[in-house]
């Protein structure tokens, strides 16, 4: 079971690095918004894997707060970009 958790964390870390590469490279604001949303989703997933590893459910509030913050931030940023583009 330890090997399973190590491989899971490894895959999540590689995915996070790839989304950070897209965040640095992305052509324009919308790509970066999407990359950040993916990154925060990966943080939530890693938090939940950590809870399963330690059999301890005290970080659920953290995971829920991260999911909420990701949604609110991404949606407001997307609305701003759209407003800026439609007035052009």
């Amino acid at each position: 079971m330890g090997v399973v958790f190590s491989v899971t964390f490894g895959m999540l870390c590689v995915a996070g690095l790839l989304s950070l590469v897209r965040l640095l490279r992305g052509r324009g604001t919308l790509d970066r918004i999407v990359a950040l949303d993916v990154f925060i989703t990966l943080i939530v997933a890693a938090t939940c894997v950590d809870m399963g590893l330690n059999r301890d459910g005290s970080n659920i509030a953290l995971a829920a707060a991260f999911a909420l913050l990701a949604f609110i931030g991404s949606v407001s940023a997307a609305r701003l970009v759209e407003r800026r583009e439609s007035h052009r």
Binding site: M1, V4, F5, V7, T8, F9, M11, L12, V14, A15, G16, L18, S19, V21, R22, R27, G28, L30, D31, I33, V34, A35, D37, V38, T41, L42, V44, A45, C48, V49, M51, G52, R55, G57, I60, A61, A63, A64, A67, L68, F71, S74, V75, A78, R79, V81, E82, E85, S86
Partner: protein
Amino acid sequence: MNWLNLFSAVCLLGGAASCLFGAIGLLTFPDVAARLQAATKPQTLGLILVLIGSAVRLDIRDASGLILVGLFQALTAPVLAQLVGRAAYRAGSVREETLDADDLAKRIRRERDRTL
């Protein structure tokens, strides 16, 4: 108990692999619409699988919170995809030759005619 461990391992590995494929697609796809597809579906599927794999190792009170997180992600990912896709269309970063049907162009034209 051994069967529960096996189920949890399959869910955790499958979910992490799905998240990894989504991130690879985020890097390799050409435009914003395709990247959105790669960012929403595999990420949501991977997160829900990881949540299931973790929830079977916790007691029922904590597992209910994990179900709530998964439900929230499944509800909000389509909303985000809709908003970002529309903003990308208005920013001109969706290439026209990749579209089969373009309903938003007609609507934008109608709005413009109404304001003139």
